[in-house]
Symmetry: C2
Subunit: 307 residues, 2 copies
Protein backbone atom coordinates (compact mmCIF):
# COMPACT_ATOMS: atom_id res chain seq x y z
CA UNK A 1 0.00 0.00 0.00
CA UNK A 2 2.80 2.44 -0.74
CA UNK A 3 1.81 5.97 -1.65
CA UNK A 4 4.03 8.91 -2.51
CA UNK A 5 2.60 12.38 -1.93
CA UNK A 6 4.45 15.24 -3.62
CA UNK A 7 3.75 18.95 -3.19
CA UNK A 8 4.29 21.98 -1.04
CA UNK A 9 4.52 22.22 2.73
CA UNK A 10 4.11 25.84 3.53
CA UNK A 11 2.68 28.73 5.51
CA UNK A 12 -0.52 30.51 4.51
CA UNK A 13 -2.07 33.80 5.53
CA UNK A 14 -5.79 33.73 4.87
CA UNK A 15 -8.65 36.18 4.99
CA UNK A 16 -12.21 34.98 4.55
CA UNK A 17 -15.50 36.81 5.19
CA UNK A 18 -15.56 34.96 8.51
CA UNK A 19 -12.08 35.55 9.85
CA UNK A 20 -8.41 36.19 9.30
CA UNK A 21 -5.25 34.29 10.21
CA UNK A 22 -1.74 35.65 9.70
CA UNK A 23 0.18 32.40 9.61
CA UNK A 24 -1.02 28.83 9.51
CA UNK A 25 0.53 25.63 8.23
CA UNK A 26 -0.63 24.76 4.72
CA UNK A 27 0.64 23.45 1.40
CA UNK A 28 -0.71 20.95 -1.11
CA UNK A 29 1.29 17.98 0.23
CA UNK A 30 0.42 18.82 3.83
CA UNK A 31 -3.32 18.75 3.20
CA UNK A 32 -3.09 15.67 0.97
CA UNK A 33 -1.08 13.77 3.59
CA UNK A 34 -3.47 14.64 6.40
CA UNK A 35 -6.40 13.37 4.32
CA UNK A 36 -4.75 10.25 2.87
CA UNK A 37 -3.31 9.08 6.19
CA UNK A 38 -6.84 8.25 7.35
CA UNK A 39 -6.87 5.44 4.80
CA UNK A 40 -3.33 4.31 4.03
CA UNK A 41 -0.01 4.24 5.87
CA UNK A 42 2.87 4.75 5.47
CA UNK A 43 2.82 7.76 3.18
CA UNK A 44 6.08 8.75 1.54
CA UNK A 45 6.11 12.54 1.63
CA UNK A 46 8.18 14.52 -0.90
CA UNK A 47 8.49 18.24 -0.29
CA UNK A 48 10.77 21.05 0.85
CA UNK A 49 10.59 23.35 3.86
CA UNK A 50 12.70 26.04 5.49
CA UNK A 51 14.07 25.94 8.99
CA UNK A 52 11.01 27.89 10.12
CA UNK A 53 8.61 24.99 9.47
CA UNK A 54 7.31 23.78 12.87
CA UNK A 55 9.01 20.62 14.15
CA UNK A 56 5.81 19.88 16.00
CA UNK A 57 3.82 19.75 12.73
CA UNK A 58 6.36 17.30 11.28
CA UNK A 59 6.00 15.21 14.41
CA UNK A 60 2.19 15.13 14.19
CA UNK A 61 2.42 14.01 10.57
CA UNK A 62 5.04 11.37 11.40
CA UNK A 63 2.73 9.94 14.03
CA UNK A 64 0.08 9.62 11.34
CA UNK A 65 2.43 7.46 9.28
CA UNK A 66 3.75 10.22 7.02
CA UNK A 67 7.44 9.43 6.43
CA UNK A 68 9.69 12.44 6.02
CA UNK A 69 12.84 11.08 4.31
CA UNK A 70 11.79 12.82 1.13
CA UNK A 71 11.20 16.20 2.79
CA UNK A 72 14.23 18.44 2.38
CA UNK A 73 14.84 20.91 5.20
CA UNK A 74 16.84 23.94 4.06
CA UNK A 75 18.67 25.65 6.91
CA UNK A 76 18.45 29.42 7.18
CA UNK A 77 15.77 29.70 4.51
CA UNK A 78 12.08 30.30 4.77
CA UNK A 79 9.26 27.95 3.80
CA UNK A 80 6.97 28.73 0.88
CA UNK A 81 4.42 31.38 1.84
CA UNK A 82 1.06 32.11 0.26
CA UNK A 83 -1.43 34.75 1.21
CA UNK A 84 -4.95 35.06 -0.18
CA UNK A 85 -8.28 36.73 0.40
CA UNK A 86 -11.60 35.08 -0.37
CA UNK A 87 -14.53 36.90 -1.92
CA UNK A 88 -17.92 36.84 -0.26
CA UNK A 89 -19.01 33.85 -2.34
CA UNK A 90 -16.05 31.83 -0.95
CA UNK A 91 -15.63 30.19 -4.37
CA UNK A 92 -13.25 32.82 -5.72
CA UNK A 93 -10.18 34.39 -4.17
CA UNK A 94 -7.37 36.82 -4.86
CA UNK A 95 -3.76 35.83 -4.29
CA UNK A 96 -2.10 38.64 -2.31
CA UNK A 97 1.42 37.28 -1.80
CA UNK A 98 3.40 34.34 -3.20
CA UNK A 99 6.87 34.05 -1.66
CA UNK A 100 8.52 31.01 -3.24
CA UNK A 101 11.44 31.01 -0.75
CA UNK A 102 12.80 27.41 -0.55
CA UNK A 103 10.61 26.40 -3.48
CA UNK A 104 12.74 28.50 -5.81
CA UNK A 105 15.56 25.97 -5.80
CA UNK A 106 13.54 22.83 -5.14
CA UNK A 107 14.88 19.79 -6.91
CA UNK A 108 12.99 16.83 -5.47
CA UNK A 109 15.12 13.75 -4.86
CA UNK A 110 13.12 10.56 -4.41
CA UNK A 111 14.64 8.26 -1.76
CA UNK A 112 15.50 4.82 -3.15
CA UNK A 113 12.95 3.02 -0.98
CA UNK A 114 10.15 5.16 -2.51
CA UNK A 115 11.02 4.42 -6.12
CA UNK A 116 8.73 1.46 -6.60
CA UNK A 117 5.67 2.99 -4.93
CA UNK A 118 2.34 1.75 -6.28
CA UNK A 119 0.51 5.06 -6.11
CA UNK A 120 1.66 8.60 -6.79
CA UNK A 121 -0.14 11.79 -5.83
CA UNK A 122 1.40 14.80 -7.49
CA UNK A 123 -0.03 17.74 -5.57
CA UNK A 124 -0.10 21.22 -7.04
CA UNK A 125 3.51 22.23 -7.87
CA UNK A 126 5.63 23.35 -10.83
CA UNK A 127 4.89 20.86 -13.66
CA UNK A 128 8.64 20.40 -14.33
CA UNK A 129 9.08 19.13 -10.76
CA UNK A 130 6.06 16.86 -11.07
CA UNK A 131 7.67 15.41 -14.20
CA UNK A 132 11.05 15.02 -12.49
CA UNK A 133 9.42 12.89 -9.77
CA UNK A 134 7.81 10.55 -12.31
CA UNK A 135 11.14 10.16 -14.15
CA UNK A 136 12.95 9.10 -10.97
CA UNK A 137 10.67 6.14 -10.28
CA UNK A 138 12.01 2.70 -11.20
CA UNK A 139 8.61 1.13 -11.76
CA UNK A 140 5.58 2.85 -13.22
CA UNK A 141 2.99 3.32 -10.44
CA UNK A 142 -0.42 1.69 -10.84
CA UNK A 143 -1.98 5.13 -10.77
CA UNK A 144 -0.56 8.63 -11.07
CA UNK A 145 -2.86 11.46 -10.01
CA UNK A 146 -1.91 15.05 -10.75
CA UNK A 147 -3.34 18.28 -9.39
CA UNK A 148 -2.48 21.58 -11.03
CA UNK A 149 -3.80 25.15 -11.33
CA UNK A 150 -4.37 28.02 -13.76
CA UNK A 151 -1.06 29.65 -12.75
CA UNK A 152 0.93 26.85 -14.46
CA UNK A 153 -1.21 27.09 -17.59
CA UNK A 154 -0.13 30.71 -17.84
CA UNK A 155 3.56 30.31 -16.92
CA UNK A 156 4.60 26.71 -17.70
CA UNK A 157 2.35 25.54 -20.54
CA UNK A 158 4.89 23.28 -22.27
CA UNK A 159 5.98 21.57 -19.05
CA UNK A 160 2.36 21.07 -18.08
CA UNK A 161 1.50 19.52 -21.45
CA UNK A 162 4.48 17.18 -21.12
CA UNK A 163 3.59 15.94 -17.67
CA UNK A 164 -0.07 15.47 -18.65
CA UNK A 165 1.17 12.84 -21.08
CA UNK A 166 2.62 10.82 -18.22
CA UNK A 167 -0.31 10.65 -15.81
CA UNK A 168 -3.62 8.81 -15.37
CA UNK A 169 -5.93 11.11 -13.43
CA UNK A 170 -6.03 14.89 -13.70
CA UNK A 171 -7.63 16.97 -10.94
CA UNK A 172 -8.76 20.49 -11.85
CA UNK A 173 -11.43 22.95 -10.92
CA UNK A 174 -14.08 23.87 -13.48
CA UNK A 175 -12.63 27.21 -14.54
CA UNK A 176 -9.20 25.57 -14.96
CA UNK A 177 -10.68 22.81 -17.14
CA UNK A 178 -12.23 25.52 -19.29
CA UNK A 179 -8.98 27.47 -19.43
CA UNK A 180 -6.91 24.40 -20.32
CA UNK A 181 -9.16 23.44 -23.22
CA UNK A 182 -10.91 26.61 -24.35
CA UNK A 183 -14.20 24.71 -24.07
CA UNK A 184 -17.08 26.00 -21.99
CA UNK A 185 -18.87 22.66 -21.94
CA UNK A 186 -17.20 20.41 -19.36
CA UNK A 187 -18.18 17.37 -21.46
CA UNK A 188 -16.21 18.78 -24.39
CA UNK A 189 -13.38 19.88 -22.09
CA UNK A 190 -13.08 16.33 -20.77
CA UNK A 191 -12.77 14.97 -24.30
CA UNK A 192 -9.96 17.40 -25.12
CA UNK A 193 -8.14 16.59 -21.89
CA UNK A 194 -8.26 12.87 -22.69
CA UNK A 195 -6.44 13.72 -25.93
CA UNK A 196 -3.72 15.39 -23.84
CA UNK A 197 -2.91 12.18 -21.96
CA UNK A 198 -5.00 11.52 -18.85
CA UNK A 199 -7.60 8.75 -18.98
CA UNK A 200 -9.54 10.14 -16.06
CA UNK A 201 -10.55 13.68 -15.26
CA UNK A 202 -11.86 14.91 -11.92
CA UNK A 203 -13.38 18.37 -11.96
CA UNK A 204 -13.56 19.88 -8.50
CA UNK A 205 -16.29 22.47 -8.11
CA UNK A 206 -15.89 23.44 -4.46
CA UNK A 207 -19.26 23.82 -2.75
CA UNK A 208 -20.86 22.49 -5.96
CA UNK A 209 -19.27 19.04 -5.75
CA UNK A 210 -17.10 17.11 -8.19
CA UNK A 211 -17.38 15.33 -11.54
CA UNK A 212 -15.46 12.22 -12.61
CA UNK A 213 -15.05 11.61 -16.35
CA UNK A 214 -13.66 8.53 -18.11
CA UNK A 215 -14.26 7.76 -21.78
CA UNK A 216 -18.03 8.19 -22.08
CA UNK A 217 -18.77 7.72 -18.39
CA UNK A 218 -19.59 10.54 -16.01
CA UNK A 219 -20.14 10.44 -12.28
CA UNK A 220 -21.15 13.31 -10.07
CA UNK A 221 -20.68 13.69 -6.31
CA UNK A 222 -22.06 16.76 -4.55
CA UNK A 223 -20.34 18.60 -1.74
CA UNK A 224 -22.08 18.19 1.61
CA UNK A 225 -24.12 21.29 2.41
CA UNK A 226 -22.44 22.57 5.57
CA UNK A 227 -23.59 24.61 8.52
CA UNK A 228 -20.34 26.56 8.46
CA UNK A 229 -17.86 27.04 5.66
CA UNK A 230 -15.03 28.85 7.30
CA UNK A 231 -11.96 28.59 5.07
CA UNK A 232 -11.81 26.78 1.70
CA UNK A 233 -7.98 26.83 1.60
CA UNK A 234 -6.64 23.33 1.01
CA UNK A 235 -10.03 21.80 0.29
CA UNK A 236 -8.92 20.73 -3.20
CA UNK A 237 -5.68 19.20 -1.89
CA UNK A 238 -7.61 17.44 0.87
CA UNK A 239 -10.06 16.13 -1.72
CA UNK A 240 -7.12 14.74 -3.72
CA UNK A 241 -5.61 13.16 -0.60
CA UNK A 242 -8.89 11.47 0.31
CA UNK A 243 -9.30 10.23 -3.26
CA UNK A 244 -5.83 8.70 -3.60
CA UNK A 245 -5.96 7.46 0.00
CA UNK A 246 -9.05 5.41 -0.77
CA UNK A 247 -7.61 4.12 -4.06
CA UNK A 248 -4.30 3.16 -2.43
CA UNK A 249 -6.12 1.44 0.43
CA UNK A 250 -8.30 -0.65 -1.88
CA UNK A 251 -5.68 -1.02 -4.67
CA UNK A 252 -8.61 -0.97 -7.09
CA UNK A 253 -8.29 1.48 -9.98
CA UNK A 254 -11.63 0.71 -11.66
CA UNK A 255 -14.08 3.50 -12.55
CA UNK A 256 -16.52 2.10 -10.00
CA UNK A 257 -13.97 2.37 -7.21
CA UNK A 258 -12.91 5.83 -8.33
CA UNK A 259 -16.52 6.90 -7.75
CA UNK A 260 -16.12 5.92 -4.12
CA UNK A 261 -12.78 7.73 -4.13
CA UNK A 262 -14.55 10.90 -5.24
CA UNK A 263 -17.05 10.54 -2.41
CA UNK A 264 -14.29 9.95 0.14
CA UNK A 265 -12.48 13.02 -1.24
CA UNK A 266 -15.65 15.11 -0.90
CA UNK A 267 -16.15 13.95 2.66
CA UNK A 268 -12.56 14.82 3.62
CA UNK A 269 -12.84 18.25 1.97
CA UNK A 270 -16.04 18.90 3.92
CA UNK A 271 -14.04 18.68 7.15
CA UNK A 272 -11.17 20.79 5.85
CA UNK A 273 -13.31 23.89 5.25
CA UNK A 274 -14.79 23.93 8.74
CA UNK A 275 -11.75 25.54 10.37
CA UNK A 276 -8.64 27.49 9.35
CA UNK A 277 -5.77 25.52 7.87
CA UNK A 278 -5.27 21.87 8.79
CA UNK A 279 -6.84 22.25 12.24
CA UNK A 280 -10.04 20.30 11.58
CA UNK A 281 -8.16 17.52 9.76
CA UNK A 282 -6.12 16.92 12.91
CA UNK A 283 -9.20 16.54 15.09
CA UNK A 284 -11.37 14.12 13.17
CA UNK A 285 -11.63 10.42 13.91
CA UNK A 286 -12.56 7.40 11.83
CA UNK A 287 -16.01 7.62 13.39
CA UNK A 288 -16.44 11.24 12.26
CA UNK A 289 -15.54 10.18 8.73
CA UNK A 290 -17.98 7.26 8.78
CA UNK A 291 -20.82 9.46 10.05
CA UNK A 292 -20.24 11.92 7.26
CA UNK A 293 -19.97 9.19 4.62
CA UNK A 294 -23.38 8.08 5.79
CA UNK A 295 -24.73 11.64 5.56
CA UNK A 296 -23.39 11.66 2.03
CA UNK A 297 -25.29 8.52 1.11
CA UNK A 298 -28.50 10.08 2.51
CA UNK A 299 -27.86 13.25 0.54
CA UNK A 300 -27.86 11.58 -2.84
CA UNK A 301 -29.87 8.45 -2.17
CA UNK A 302 -33.07 8.19 -4.21
CA UNK A 303 -35.37 5.71 -5.82
CA UNK A 304 -36.24 6.59 -9.41
CA UNK A 305 -38.71 3.70 -9.68
CA UNK A 306 -41.65 6.07 -9.20
CA UNK A 307 -41.11 7.77 -12.55
CA UNK B 1 -54.80 15.69 -11.38
CA UNK B 2 -55.67 19.38 -11.62
CA UNK B 3 -52.77 21.81 -11.68
CA UNK B 4 -52.84 25.59 -11.93
CA UNK B 5 -49.76 27.27 -13.39
CA UNK B 6 -49.50 31.02 -12.78
CA UNK B 7 -46.87 33.36 -14.21
CA UNK B 8 -45.80 35.38 -17.19
CA UNK B 9 -46.21 34.59 -20.87
CA UNK B 10 -43.89 36.92 -22.65
CA UNK B 11 -41.27 37.74 -25.24
CA UNK B 12 -37.55 37.58 -24.53
CA UNK B 13 -34.51 38.95 -26.33
CA UNK B 14 -31.44 36.97 -25.33
CA UNK B 15 -27.73 37.20 -25.91
CA UNK B 16 -25.46 34.37 -24.81
CA UNK B 17 -21.78 33.74 -25.65
CA UNK B 18 -23.10 31.31 -28.27
CA UNK B 19 -25.73 33.36 -30.04
CA UNK B 20 -28.34 36.08 -30.03
CA UNK B 21 -32.07 36.13 -30.62
CA UNK B 22 -34.13 39.34 -30.86
CA UNK B 23 -37.54 37.94 -30.00
CA UNK B 24 -38.56 34.55 -28.75
CA UNK B 25 -41.52 33.34 -26.73
CA UNK B 26 -40.73 33.02 -23.03
CA UNK B 27 -42.20 33.72 -19.61
CA UNK B 28 -42.28 31.76 -16.37
CA UNK B 29 -45.72 30.21 -16.95
CA UNK B 30 -44.88 29.31 -20.55
CA UNK B 31 -41.80 27.32 -19.57
CA UNK B 32 -43.52 25.75 -16.57
CA UNK B 33 -46.49 24.65 -18.68
CA UNK B 34 -44.30 23.13 -21.40
CA UNK B 35 -42.43 21.12 -18.79
CA UNK B 36 -45.41 20.07 -16.63
CA UNK B 37 -47.56 19.01 -19.58
CA UNK B 38 -45.26 16.03 -20.13
CA UNK B 39 -46.57 14.59 -16.86
CA UNK B 40 -50.02 15.95 -16.13
CA UNK B 41 -52.97 17.23 -18.18
CA UNK B 42 -54.99 19.38 -18.21
CA UNK B 43 -53.05 22.35 -16.91
CA UNK B 44 -55.00 25.43 -15.94
CA UNK B 45 -52.89 28.34 -17.12
CA UNK B 46 -53.23 31.78 -15.50
CA UNK B 47 -51.41 34.65 -17.19
CA UNK B 48 -51.80 37.77 -19.30
CA UNK B 49 -50.64 38.57 -22.84
CA UNK B 50 -50.98 41.36 -25.37
CA UNK B 51 -52.50 41.05 -28.79
CA UNK B 52 -48.98 40.47 -30.15
CA UNK B 53 -48.61 37.07 -28.46
CA UNK B 54 -48.55 34.42 -31.23
CA UNK B 55 -51.86 32.57 -31.71
CA UNK B 56 -49.80 29.64 -32.92
CA UNK B 57 -47.98 29.37 -29.60
CA UNK B 58 -51.30 29.33 -27.75
CA UNK B 59 -52.49 26.59 -30.08
CA UNK B 60 -49.41 24.44 -29.47
CA UNK B 61 -49.86 24.77 -25.74
CA UNK B 62 -53.59 23.98 -25.99
CA UNK B 63 -52.77 20.79 -27.87
CA UNK B 64 -50.52 19.83 -24.95
CA UNK B 65 -53.48 20.11 -22.59
CA UNK B 66 -52.78 23.64 -21.38
CA UNK B 67 -56.19 25.29 -20.92
CA UNK B 68 -56.29 29.00 -21.61
CA UNK B 69 -59.47 30.23 -19.87
CA UNK B 70 -57.31 31.93 -17.27
CA UNK B 71 -55.09 33.70 -19.77
CA UNK B 72 -56.25 37.26 -20.33
CA UNK B 73 -55.61 38.69 -23.78
CA UNK B 74 -55.43 42.49 -23.77
CA UNK B 75 -56.22 44.04 -27.15
CA UNK B 76 -53.92 46.74 -28.48
CA UNK B 77 -51.34 46.20 -25.79
CA UNK B 78 -47.99 44.49 -25.86
CA UNK B 79 -46.94 41.36 -24.00
CA UNK B 80 -44.33 41.53 -21.23
CA UNK B 81 -40.84 41.86 -22.69
CA UNK B 82 -37.52 40.97 -21.08
CA UNK B 83 -34.08 41.31 -22.54
CA UNK B 84 -30.90 39.96 -21.01
CA UNK B 85 -27.28 39.18 -21.73
CA UNK B 86 -25.43 36.24 -20.22
CA UNK B 87 -21.86 36.42 -19.01
CA UNK B 88 -19.28 33.97 -20.26
CA UNK B 89 -19.87 31.64 -17.29
CA UNK B 90 -23.58 31.39 -18.29
CA UNK B 91 -24.52 31.35 -14.60
CA UNK B 92 -24.83 35.12 -14.31
CA UNK B 93 -26.61 37.62 -16.52
CA UNK B 94 -27.48 41.30 -16.84
CA UNK B 95 -31.04 42.42 -17.42
CA UNK B 96 -31.00 44.94 -20.27
CA UNK B 97 -34.70 45.75 -20.66
CA UNK B 98 -37.84 45.01 -18.66
CA UNK B 99 -41.00 46.31 -20.37
CA UNK B 100 -43.92 45.37 -18.12
CA UNK B 101 -46.57 46.29 -20.75
CA UNK B 102 -49.72 44.21 -20.01
CA UNK B 103 -48.21 43.05 -16.73
CA UNK B 104 -48.55 46.58 -15.32
CA UNK B 105 -52.31 46.21 -14.85
CA UNK B 106 -52.51 42.46 -14.36
CA UNK B 107 -55.14 41.39 -11.91
CA UNK B 108 -55.41 37.63 -12.26
CA UNK B 109 -58.95 36.27 -12.13
CA UNK B 110 -59.17 32.56 -11.44
CA UNK B 111 -61.97 30.87 -13.41
CA UNK B 112 -64.49 29.11 -11.16
CA UNK B 113 -63.62 25.65 -12.44
CA UNK B 114 -59.96 26.16 -11.37
CA UNK B 115 -60.77 27.14 -7.81
CA UNK B 116 -60.51 23.70 -6.28
CA UNK B 117 -57.31 22.65 -8.04
CA UNK B 118 -55.16 20.22 -6.09
CA UNK B 119 -51.79 21.67 -7.06
CA UNK B 120 -50.69 25.26 -7.55
CA UNK B 121 -47.48 26.40 -9.24
CA UNK B 122 -46.88 30.11 -8.68
CA UNK B 123 -44.22 30.98 -11.24
CA UNK B 124 -42.06 34.05 -10.85
CA UNK B 125 -44.36 37.11 -10.69
CA UNK B 126 -45.17 40.05 -8.39
CA UNK B 127 -45.71 38.54 -4.92
CA UNK B 128 -48.97 40.51 -4.49
CA UNK B 129 -50.41 38.74 -7.55
CA UNK B 130 -49.18 35.35 -6.31
CA UNK B 131 -51.02 36.06 -3.06
CA UNK B 132 -54.16 37.17 -4.88
CA UNK B 133 -54.31 33.83 -6.68
CA UNK B 134 -54.08 31.85 -3.44
CA UNK B 135 -56.83 33.97 -1.87
CA UNK B 136 -59.22 33.26 -4.75
CA UNK B 137 -59.11 29.48 -4.33
CA UNK B 138 -62.06 27.86 -2.56
CA UNK B 139 -60.10 24.88 -1.25
CA UNK B 140 -56.50 24.94 -0.10
CA UNK B 141 -54.40 23.00 -2.66
CA UNK B 142 -52.49 19.94 -1.48
CA UNK B 143 -49.27 21.68 -2.42
CA UNK B 144 -48.43 25.27 -3.29
CA UNK B 145 -45.05 25.84 -4.93
CA UNK B 146 -43.72 29.36 -5.36
CA UNK B 147 -40.85 30.64 -7.46
CA UNK B 148 -39.51 34.15 -6.96
CA UNK B 149 -36.38 36.23 -7.60
CA UNK B 150 -34.07 38.84 -6.07
CA UNK B 151 -35.95 41.67 -7.82
CA UNK B 152 -39.00 41.14 -5.56
CA UNK B 153 -36.81 41.04 -2.46
CA UNK B 154 -35.64 44.51 -3.37
CA UNK B 155 -38.97 46.01 -4.45
CA UNK B 156 -41.77 44.06 -2.76
CA UNK B 157 -40.34 42.72 0.49
CA UNK B 158 -43.53 42.92 2.56
CA UNK B 159 -45.71 41.29 -0.11
CA UNK B 160 -43.11 38.56 -0.54
CA UNK B 161 -42.95 37.86 3.19
CA UNK B 162 -46.75 37.66 3.30
CA UNK B 163 -47.06 35.19 0.46
CA UNK B 164 -44.23 33.04 1.87
CA UNK B 165 -46.50 32.41 4.85
CA UNK B 166 -49.11 30.85 2.59
CA UNK B 167 -47.04 28.35 0.61
CA UNK B 168 -45.41 24.93 1.03
CA UNK B 169 -42.41 24.83 -1.28
CA UNK B 170 -40.15 27.77 -2.12
CA UNK B 171 -37.93 27.67 -5.22
CA UNK B 172 -34.92 29.98 -5.29
CA UNK B 173 -31.44 30.09 -6.63
CA UNK B 174 -28.50 30.03 -4.22
CA UNK B 175 -27.69 33.75 -4.31
CA UNK B 176 -31.38 34.55 -3.76
CA UNK B 177 -31.53 32.22 -0.76
CA UNK B 178 -28.52 34.05 0.65
CA UNK B 179 -30.07 37.44 -0.09
CA UNK B 180 -33.43 36.52 1.46
CA UNK B 181 -31.86 35.34 4.72
CA UNK B 182 -28.51 37.12 5.04
CA UNK B 183 -26.93 33.72 5.61
CA UNK B 184 -24.04 32.45 3.52
CA UNK B 185 -24.48 28.83 4.62
CA UNK B 186 -27.36 27.31 2.68
CA UNK B 187 -28.08 25.04 5.65
CA UNK B 188 -28.61 28.09 7.85
CA UNK B 189 -30.51 29.88 5.07
CA UNK B 190 -32.90 26.92 4.83
CA UNK B 191 -33.58 27.09 8.55
CA UNK B 192 -34.42 30.80 8.36
CA UNK B 193 -36.68 30.25 5.36
CA UNK B 194 -38.62 27.56 7.22
CA UNK B 195 -39.31 30.19 9.89
CA UNK B 196 -40.80 32.42 7.16
CA UNK B 197 -43.45 29.86 6.23
CA UNK B 198 -42.41 27.25 3.66
CA UNK B 199 -41.87 23.69 4.85
CA UNK B 200 -39.75 22.80 1.83
CA UNK B 201 -37.00 24.71 0.12
CA UNK B 202 -35.56 23.95 -3.29
CA UNK B 203 -32.34 25.76 -4.13
CA UNK B 204 -31.66 25.81 -7.86
CA UNK B 205 -27.99 26.14 -8.72
CA UNK B 206 -28.12 26.05 -12.53
CA UNK B 207 -25.31 23.90 -13.93
CA UNK B 208 -24.45 22.92 -10.35
CA UNK B 209 -27.73 21.10 -9.68
CA UNK B 210 -30.37 21.58 -7.01
CA UNK B 211 -30.84 21.02 -3.28
CA UNK B 212 -34.06 20.04 -1.53
CA UNK B 213 -34.38 20.89 2.18
CA UNK B 214 -37.11 19.82 4.63
CA UNK B 215 -36.69 19.97 8.40
CA UNK B 216 -33.34 18.25 8.91
CA UNK B 217 -33.36 16.38 5.60
CA UNK B 218 -31.31 17.39 2.59
CA UNK B 219 -31.28 15.90 -0.89
CA UNK B 220 -29.02 16.90 -3.74
CA UNK B 221 -29.55 16.36 -7.46
CA UNK B 222 -26.84 17.41 -9.91
CA UNK B 223 -27.48 19.00 -13.28
CA UNK B 224 -26.61 16.70 -16.18
CA UNK B 225 -23.25 17.69 -17.68
CA UNK B 226 -24.20 18.71 -21.20
CA UNK B 227 -22.37 18.75 -24.49
CA UNK B 228 -23.91 22.13 -25.31
CA UNK B 229 -25.42 24.72 -23.01
CA UNK B 230 -26.87 27.24 -25.36
CA UNK B 231 -29.31 29.45 -23.44
CA UNK B 232 -30.15 29.11 -19.72
CA UNK B 233 -33.25 31.36 -19.98
CA UNK B 234 -36.28 29.61 -18.53
CA UNK B 235 -34.30 26.71 -17.09
CA UNK B 236 -35.47 27.53 -13.56
CA UNK B 237 -39.12 27.82 -14.65
CA UNK B 238 -38.80 24.57 -16.58
CA UNK B 239 -37.31 22.92 -13.52
CA UNK B 240 -40.31 24.10 -11.48
CA UNK B 241 -42.72 22.83 -14.12
CA UNK B 242 -41.09 19.40 -14.19
CA UNK B 243 -41.11 19.26 -10.39
CA UNK B 244 -44.79 20.16 -9.93
CA UNK B 245 -45.72 18.06 -12.99
CA UNK B 246 -44.28 14.96 -11.36
CA UNK B 247 -45.89 15.75 -7.99
CA UNK B 248 -49.30 16.42 -9.58
CA UNK B 249 -49.05 13.21 -11.63
CA UNK B 250 -48.23 11.04 -8.62
CA UNK B 251 -50.31 13.06 -6.07
CA UNK B 252 -47.64 12.15 -3.54
CA UNK B 253 -46.25 15.07 -1.53
CA UNK B 254 -43.79 13.06 0.60
CA UNK B 255 -40.13 14.08 0.86
CA UNK B 256 -39.17 10.87 -0.95
CA UNK B 257 -41.37 11.71 -3.91
CA UNK B 258 -40.16 15.31 -3.95
CA UNK B 259 -36.65 13.89 -4.48
CA UNK B 260 -37.89 12.32 -7.68
CA UNK B 261 -39.60 15.61 -8.52
CA UNK B 262 -36.24 17.38 -8.23
CA UNK B 263 -34.68 14.86 -10.58
CA UNK B 264 -37.52 15.23 -13.10
CA UNK B 265 -37.12 19.00 -12.85
CA UNK B 266 -33.37 18.73 -13.49
CA UNK B 267 -33.96 16.51 -16.50
CA UNK B 268 -36.49 18.93 -18.01
CA UNK B 269 -34.16 21.90 -17.39
CA UNK B 270 -31.36 20.01 -19.16
CA UNK B 271 -33.43 20.03 -22.34
CA UNK B 272 -34.45 23.67 -21.98
CA UNK B 273 -30.89 25.01 -22.12
CA UNK B 274 -29.99 23.18 -25.32
CA UNK B 275 -31.73 25.67 -27.63
CA UNK B 276 -33.07 29.22 -27.50
CA UNK B 277 -36.40 29.78 -25.77
CA UNK B 278 -38.97 26.98 -25.64
CA UNK B 279 -37.78 25.37 -28.88
CA UNK B 280 -36.22 22.25 -27.38
CA UNK B 281 -39.14 21.72 -25.01
CA UNK B 282 -41.45 21.48 -28.03
CA UNK B 283 -39.36 18.81 -29.72
CA UNK B 284 -38.77 16.27 -26.97
CA UNK B 285 -40.74 13.05 -26.57
CA UNK B 286 -41.48 10.82 -23.61
CA UNK B 287 -38.68 8.57 -24.85
CA UNK B 288 -36.17 11.44 -24.80
CA UNK B 289 -37.17 12.17 -21.20
CA UNK B 290 -36.83 8.52 -20.18
CA UNK B 291 -33.38 8.24 -21.76
CA UNK B 292 -32.20 11.29 -19.88
CA UNK B 293 -33.72 10.09 -16.60
CA UNK B 294 -31.66 6.96 -17.07
CA UNK B 295 -28.51 9.01 -17.77
CA UNK B 296 -29.27 10.80 -14.55
CA UNK B 297 -29.40 7.58 -12.58
CA UNK B 298 -26.02 6.56 -14.06
CA UNK B 299 -24.56 9.92 -13.18
CA UNK B 300 -25.19 9.62 -9.47
CA UNK B 301 -25.37 5.87 -8.99
CA UNK B 302 -22.71 4.46 -6.68
CA UNK B 303 -22.06 1.71 -4.19
CA UNK B 304 -20.51 2.92 -0.96
CA UNK B 305 -20.13 -0.63 0.39
CA UNK B 306 -16.41 -0.60 -0.44
CA UNK B 307 -15.63 1.99 2.20
Amino acid sequence: MSLIVVGTMAFDAIETPFGKIDKTVGGSATYAAYAASNFVRPIHQVSIVGSDFPKKEMEILRKRGVQMEGVEIVPDKKSFFWSGKYHLDMNTRDTLITDLNVLENFNPVIPDNYKSAEFLMLGNLMPSLQKSVIKQLTTRPKLIVLDTMNFWMETAWDDLREVLNLIDVLLLNDSEARQLTGEYSLVKAARKIFEMGPEYLVIKKGEHGALLFNENNVFFAPALPLEDVFDPTGAGDTFGGGFIGHIAKTKDISFENMKTGIIVGSVMASFCVEKFGTQRLKEITKEDIDIRLNEFVQLVNFDIALV
